[in-house]
């Protein structure tokens, strides 16, 4: 069956958000199963989002702040644009890895801004924690990506073509999992969104549409990291294979989430420093020793 490439592109753009939400549903379901519960149906996040769009907003003092209204939508836009830069054959711009890093930092920065706009001490603390961690993890993430591309000696993301990188760069793989845990806010490093310490974190003051956009961008980020995880460390598969492997990666993430607790901010920071040293060693190593 040969579809018109334009139709495929339109379908792809339309189905990104539902697909990401189903991935979030799979994560919740998998965590629930690991905790001996039945868990929600995997389409649950879609219901949640639709409900949030139907709900009214609650009155907060923060509403006077224009950032409060705009930032969730901006976060969603940036998170959505991740998927326009996934190097799949039919929808890809030519861009280098620096652009990828730039997008991820932008999303995190907007998330921090969303917290400060919330006008709530708890979301301010959550944002502050995210900022503190950003200093560290963005650097590690940059060096991981740098290691990968230096190893492959390419510059463009779409030119990256190596199978089973995790065997060649095992330390980078471990560091990637740690950074990913912070980025998609799962334990052990979800200090920025710790529900018992800072309530709902950045989202505390949001309700209705704003909350829906924040939730969607969370789900998009989760899916995006699942794609990156496979693309960089396992292999560059075509779209149908990706549809199979991405849920598996999400199940792996939920396994990480279910089997760990949460570290404190300073402990997280200490461990990140350790990872930074590790990845630097890896970066230097590929120059001399390879297998």
């Amino acid at each position: 069956m040969n579809l018109d490439p334009n139709i495929v592109k339109i379908l792809y753009i339309l189905l990104i958000v539902p697909f990401a939400l189903v991935m979030e549903g799979i994560r919740r379901k998998a965590v629930a199963r690991m905790q001996n519960r039945i868990g929600p149906p995997i389409t649950q996040p879609i219901y949640d989002i639709l409900k949030l769009f139907q709900k009214k907003k609650s009155d907060t003092l923060a509403q006077e702040n224009s950032f409060f209204k705009v930032v969730p939508f901006l976060t969603f836009c940036v998170a959505f644009s991740f998927f326009l830069f996934i190097p799949l054959s039919f929808i890809s711009f030519k861009h280098d890895f620096i652009f990828l890093i730039y997008l991820l930092v932008l999303e995190s920065a907007l998330f921090v801004l969303a917290g400060f706009a919330g006008n709530n001490p708890y979301s301010a603390i959550a944002s502050m924690r995210e900022l503190i961690l950003m200093v560290s993890y963005e650097m590690i993430f940059t060096i991981i990506i740098l290691t990968l591309f230096v190893y492959e000696e390419v510059l463009m993301v779409s030119e990256f073509g190596a199978m089973f990188m995790l065997l060649k760069l095992p330390i980078a793989f471990i560091c990637f999992i740690a950074v990913m845990a912070i980025e998609i806010r799962i334990t052990p490093y979800d200090t920025a969104a710790a529900p018992t310490e800072v309530l709902e974190g950045v989202e505390t003051e949001y309700s209705g549409k704003g909350l829906a956009f924040l939730h969607i961008s969370d789900a998009l980020k989760l899916t995006f990291f699942a794609v990156l995880f496979i693309y960089f460390f396992f292999g560059q598969f075509s779209l149908p294979w990706m549809l199979l492997f991405v849920p598996l990666a999400v199940v792996f993430f939920s396994f990480v989430q279910a089997t760990t607790g949460r570290y404190r901010v300073d402990q997280t920071f200490k461990r990140l420093t350790f990872f930074l040293i590790l990845i630097l060693i890896e970066f230097v190593r590929i120059k001399f020793i390879t297998w």
Binding site: V31, M34, Q35, N36, R37, P121, Y122, I125, M128, T187, P188, D190, T191, A194, P195, T196, E197, L199, A258, T259, T260, G261, R262, Y263, R264, V265, D266, Q267
Partner: protein, 393 residues
């Protein structure tokens, strides 16, 4: 000088505390400079209400002081009344009471363990703890017919009989399940890097500090003080069973975890012994006091009496003045009331992420604790000790 601190309220509506209490923390960066505890969200005035009520009514009210240690409070009141009227409870009734008390301890400790894990983000352990707790609740349902508020006590006896073959076997079955999984919990608490790094050397209470603040229960035992009413002043059937008094020396949150976890095993040990040695004859429906308590009991000369039991959180102490079957004066001192005093000192200088860990390691039960506020015309009133006694006691 510009002040570089900012104040945030932790609670009252906060996931850190399942019950409302407000701690205003003064933050300097990420560290707490000063903590101020504000309470009164749960104060209803139980002691005042107990006054002037008949003993049967008071038994019902004391049961509802707290939902988690409901048995301990009613046992305390029953003990006080039995002490005053010199009623010796039936031996089997004593055994059944002890079983319920120990089951309550297991239930409370498992609940606490789940919460402590939830506070550090370990949701899987939380769910597992709650899964095991459900077995204990099933046991409660079998013995007392209720999951949470048990209402098993009567003066001199208990409400339901206990069959060794039926209930005894059922309880042993369920406890075996908990016993089977227990080593996994202990291993996790000892080895897991998240648990040890979050809990060790957090909220340390030294032995001298614990003595100074008159701490009770697992909190004191974790600091190395051998204090347990079950050993010091045996009541019910505790003098007939053999169990170990568990102490740790570190005094931090982790030591408290270990004390509580290890106490679960001791409780299971006690229940096994009790079921094995359970008397055969059925529990009497009424003692000489009769169904309506006051009918045929001689009025004692004394009026003051007290009850003292080891609740899951520590020593529970009730003091009553009873005249002609009416409670004239009541004073309830719960374990959390003793333990919570240290919290402001303890929170000083810690990281904000440690607040949930420290507070949950206290196993606070505020609904037990909030006994009294003195407010007159909307103003606070400060009284000296003797003034206070002459006015309010």
């Amino acid at each position: 000088m510009h002040d570089h601190t900012h104040t945030i309220p932790v609670g009252p509506q906060s996931p850190t505390m399942k019950e409302p209490m407000c701690i205003r923390v003064n933050l300097e960066g990420n560290y707490i400079k000063k903590a101020h505890v504000r309470m009164g969200y749960l104060h209803k005035g139980i002691e005042n209400m107990l006054e002037g009520k008949s003993l049967i009514k008071c038994l019902y009210i004391t049961e509802h002081i707290c939902g988690i240690c409901s048995y301990a409070h009613s046992a305390c009141f029953t003990q006080a009344v039995e002490r005053l009227y010199k009623i010796d409870a039936h031996k089997k009734a004593k055994y059944i009471r002890t079983i319920v008390a120990e089951l309550e301890r297991i239930h409370s400790h498992l609940l606490w363990f789940g919460f402590a894990m939830h506070e550090i983000g370990y949701d899987t352990m939380f769910q597992y703890g709650m899964r095991e707790r459900e077995y204990v609740l099933e046991c409660f349902e079998k013995i007392t017919g209720n999951r949470v508020i048990h209402a098993i006590n009567k003066f001199g006896t208990v409400r339901y009989d206990f069959d060794k073959e039926k209930e005894g076997k059922f309880i042993l079955d369920k406890l075996a399940k908990i016993e089977k999984i227990y080593p996994f919990y202990e291993k996790m608490a000892r080895k897991n890097s998240v648990i040890t790094s979050r809990m060790k050397e957090v909220g340390t209470i030294s032995k001298s500090m614990a003595i100074k603040h008159c701490m009770v229960g697992p909190m004191a035992r974790a600091s190395g003080i051998k204090r347990d009413i079950r050993k010091d002043h045996p009541y019910e059937a505790y003098s007939e069973v053999d169990f170990e008094l568990i102490t740790e020396t570190a005094g931090d949150s982790w030591a408290r975890t270990m004390v509580r976890l290890r106490e679960i095993v001791e409780s299971i040990k006690i229940i096994k012994q009790l079921i094995k040695n359970m008397p055969e004859e059925p529990v009497p429906k009424f003692t000489k006091a009769g169904p309506l308590f006051m009918a045929n009991v001689p009025e004692p000369k004394k009026t003051l009496t007290y009850g003292q039991v080891e609740a899951p959180r520590g020593e529970d102490f009730h003091f009553y003045k009873i005249e002609k079957g009416i409670v004239k004066k009541a004073r309830i001192r719960t374990p959390t009331f003793q333990n919570i005093q240290v919290i402001e000192t303890l929170l000083k200088g810690v990281e904000i992420g440690d607040i949930p860990v420290i507070i949950s390691s206290f196993d606070p039960c505020f609904s037990c604790m909030e006994r009294m506020i003195v407010v007159k015309d909307g103003k606070k009133e400060v009284l000296k000790e003797d003034e206070f006694r002459s006015k309010y006691c």
